[in-house]
């Protein structure tokens, strides 16, 4: 199983239901909304991936497999843009 961690220079804040993220080194910024914001928030709160998938399935009203695909897709995207890095 791949493990992810935030890049050390990433900070974020919740605002009006969105998550605003800034990489303090590169000054890149991102905004997450809706289910994507929920996924980020639940992971940041420390829920294990399977619980996040269960909650996303209920939130999106989709089967667990589809919620898992959604989460995997988001993690891959966040890794690609530099919000996450692979690590212990």
């Amino acid at each position: 199983m791949t493990r992810y961690r935030c890049v050390p220079s990433l900070v974020w804040v919740q605002d009006a239901g969105r998550v605003l993220l800034v990489d303090q080194e590169t000054l890149q910024a991102w905004t997450l909304e809706g289910a994507e914001a929920a996924a980020w928030d639940l992971l940041a709160l420390g829920y294990p991936a399977e619980r996040v998938v269960a909650m996303l399935a209920l939130l999106l009203d989709v089967p667990a497999g589809q919620a898992a695909s959604f989460l995997e897709g988001r993690l891959a995207a966040w890794l690609e843009v530099g919000m996450l890095q692979e690590g212990k």
């Binding site: 919740q14 605002d15 289910a35 929920a38 928030d41 709160l45 619980r51 909650m55 209920l58 939130l59």
Partner: protein, 450 residues
């Protein structure tokens, strides 16, 4: 229209006309004559009073029509990590059920659909307990679902929680960032908190709750401190208020007198003396107000006109972990002791079943059906108070604890609105005058001896 004697004058109060006037005995007699037999008022200032009285004023009405909850209350669990020595919820004695995420989903979806169908623009979701963050997954899920679904429905949504503040810093930051209002139970400085609100193992919760209050003071969520007042702490209310002002930045402070336990039990604390509570509240309120902090004692809020004091009668939907929808967040055991059944329906298997007769019965629990309130000047503010914890059944003037403290504080609020705080203080120094006003059996203008 009401008349309350204050020292050698009378406070004339027409709450539905928002009219508060301090008059002398002669004017009071003239007003009585006018109202009793329509004898014309010729004196200038009295004419202004009479003209301000609107014969076609609209009375506040109980809820009618379709059931559209004023807010959705979720009880994630009745469990709690504290063992407050006055707590009537008696948690810890038996395993506490936690709300399933499926039930939370069904409750949120039903509520938002109902608001949207009714053409509403705003939704309110409140979390009560036990301690809601003893089942944090329910809160986390419901907030994200509520936010997502509200956006889809074109609604704004506000989240509020009543909490004991016992959680870690990460949770505290999350609350500050994600919720709109936090009602934090904190009874006072460390010795008071240790006395009232220990952990189950007896340790004090003071340190962690103070840290929570400090962090929430810095965040965007509106912080309301809720202090339960017992016979052991009533005289310390001004000191508690000053300590709150010094340490934290709340939007408001709510002092709640301890309610007698139901069923009666041997408890280490008693409810405070209502006279002492009323006097101490006024002193504490002045300290808070000097710091720009709202002092909350809801029953004496003279800016509100209502027919039901609490969620009951206001079409509130409180969903318990077992799926019961009720009008009240207290334990069914407590309602039943008063001969009440406040269940409104049930959510099960994704279906919501509302009992229309039960909704009608809850709506009927309003001040129009509380004859002992009919002649009280606080009628439209207190509306008879909590249906479960406050149930005087005697004749007019058979005031109980809640009535006495409410009348005392409301009278201060009315005089404050007239910039007459010095008069209130002088009046308070005369015990017989205070009792004459507060224990006056009827405040109706035509009933008061002038």
């Amino acid at each position: 229209m009401f008349l309350v004697p204050v020292a050698d004058r009378f406070l004339f109060y027409a709450p539905l006309d928002s009219l508060i006037v301090l008059i002398d005995r002669t004017a009071a007699r003239q007003l009585r004559r006018y109202l009793d037999c329509r004898q014309p008022v010729t004196q200038g200032p009295l004419q202004e009073i009479v003209q301000a009285l609107d014969p076609a004023r609209e009375l506040p009405l109980p809820r009618q029509g379709d059931f559209v909850p004023s807010f959705l209350g979720l009880l994630p669990t009745r469990g709690c990590n504290l063992a407050c020595r006055y707590c009537g919820f008696a948690v810890g004695e038996e395993p506490q059920q936690r709300m399933s995420l499926e039930l939370a989903r069904d409750a949120v979806n039903w509520y938002l659909d109902t608001v949207q169908r009714a053409g509403g623009k705003h939704a309110e979701i409140h979390f009560f307990g036990g301690e809601p963050f003893y089942a944090p997954e329910v809160v986390d899920f419901a907030v994200h679902l509520g936010r997502t679904r509200a956006r889809e429905a074109g609604l704004t949504v506000r989240f509020e929680v009543a909490t004991n503040g016992v959680f870690d810093e990460r949770r505290c930051r999350w609350i500050a960032d994600n919720l709109d209002a936090v009602v934090l139970s904190l009874d006072g400085p460390p010795d008071v908190q240790a006395l009232h609100r220990p952990y189950r193992d007896g340790r004090s919760s003071a340190e962690v709750v103070e840290r929570t209050a400090e962090m929430l003071s810095e965040g965007p969520a509106a912080l309301y401190l809720r202090a339960c007042v017992t016979d052991a702490t009533v005289e310390r209310m001004p000191e508690i208020a000053a300590w709150f002002c010094e340490r934290f930045r709340p939007a408001g402070v709510c002092f709640e007198p301890l309610q007698p336990p139901t069923p009666p039990a041997r408890a280490p604390f008693e409810p405070p003396d209502p006279w002492a509570f009323g006097r101490a509240f006024v002193l504490a309120a002045r300290i808070l107000e000097a710091h720009g902090i709202e002092a909350v004692y809801a029953a004496a809020d003279i800016h509100t006109r209502r027919t039901s004091f609490c969620p009951v009668g206001q079409d509130t939907a409180i969903v318990s972990p077992d799926g019961t929808i009720s009008a009240c967040y207290l334990l069914p055991r407590d309602w039943e002791m008063r001969g009440l059944d406040l269940r409104l329906g049930r959510i099960a298997g994704g279906q919501v079943h509302l009992d229309r007769a039960a909704v009608a019965a809850a709506r009927a629990l309003n001040v129009y059906n509380k004859p002992h309130c009919a002649r009280c000047f606080c009628r439209w503010h207190c509306a008879g108070g909590c249906h479960v914890n406050h149930g005087p059944t005697g004749p007019n003037g058979a005031y109980d604890r809640l009535c006495i403290q409410t009348r005392l504080i409301a009278l201060r609020n009315l005089l404050q609105a007239l910039d007459q705080e010095p008069l209130f203080d002088a009046w308070l120094q005369d015990p017989s005058a205070v009792k004459r006003a507060i224990l006056q059996p009827s405040d109706r203008l035509l009933d008061v001896e002038v």
